[in-house]
Homo-oligomer: 168 residues x 2
């Protein structure tokens, strides 16, 4: 995770966008905010309804010191929020913000990939009403699935194209 | 990334599934194989057509030693493959395997989230034929978008439910 810098600007409705090396890229910014795997696994547990530190630690298997650091960073980034659930002694738990809830497609994409390529058997099943969820992407503009070959990437940032930095 | 263990079993058509702490989960297995952000950013660059180490290093901004370690791990995991493109002196570059190409939805989900929540302006645009790609998920079983509330998760692994490990 990147420390906030003086050049960082916040926009309404956006989390803070850190200055990063390399290609200007929303994937890079997402991964920087999300840190390494314990962060996304903590979001997984909170989305499963496990809100307390001890539950998140047990179910992720994360080392407690690293998990505590990740949770602090996720709260600071605006992906989780702490809520007090007990006054004396004071106790807090973790809940998803709108930005955290919006990570569901990222977790689902990782779940689908891991089911396909890594797990011997799917350790969990997503149900959609009365049937198994069978996820696919669709383009809302044309109602067609984006076959990989028809999708092209266009760099919008001055000084960069798909090959890399370009002289202006 | 986890070192291979004696208890690890490979299945045909699967990458190796390491033994991990915590909840049995395809998200955790995916993130373990993918390591931290440099790995996914390397996959991004190769998918953009930048196959050589120097190109990947320049466009990700990754420290060269950490990038070299990530590329080795991605090759060992079966997500990238090295191909020799020059004989004398011998030079290799990196290409996506089928498992690597299948990471496109993960990168797209991160791109959509970062465009929505982090980037002041989208640094890149995905085009789909003659229009901007406007990605959404759909369930192939019912042709309906999975609204978050209708999706439920069912743990398939003995000894675990959504709350955590359970006595058998």
């Amino acid at each position: 995770m990147t420390t906030k810098t003086a050049t960082e600007r916040n926009q309404p409705g956006k989390l803070s966008a850190p200055q990063l090396p390399g290609r200007p890229c929303s994937i890079a910014r997402s991964l920087d905010l999300l840190g390494e795997k314990w962060a996304l696994l903590a979001v997984r547990e909170v989305s499963f309804g496990n809100h307390r530190f001890n539950e998140i630690a047990r179910n992720t298997g994360a080392p407690r010191d690293r998990l505590a650091a990740r949770l602090r960073a996720l709260v600071e980034a605006g992906i989780l929020e702490r809520r007090q659930y007990q006054a004396s002694p004071a106790r807090w738990d973790y809940h998803l913000t709108p930005a955290g809830r919006d990570l569901a497609p990222v977790l689902r994409a990782l779940l689908v990939w891991g089911d396909r390529w890594v797990s011997p058997e799917p350790p969990a099943t997503l149900r959609h009403g009365d049937h198994d969820l069978d996820l696919d992407w669709i383009c809302r503009r044309c109602d067609q699935a984006p076959g990989d070959r028809s999708v092209t990437v266009h760099a919008n940032t001055p000084g960069w194209d798909l090959r890399g930095p370009q002289p202006r």
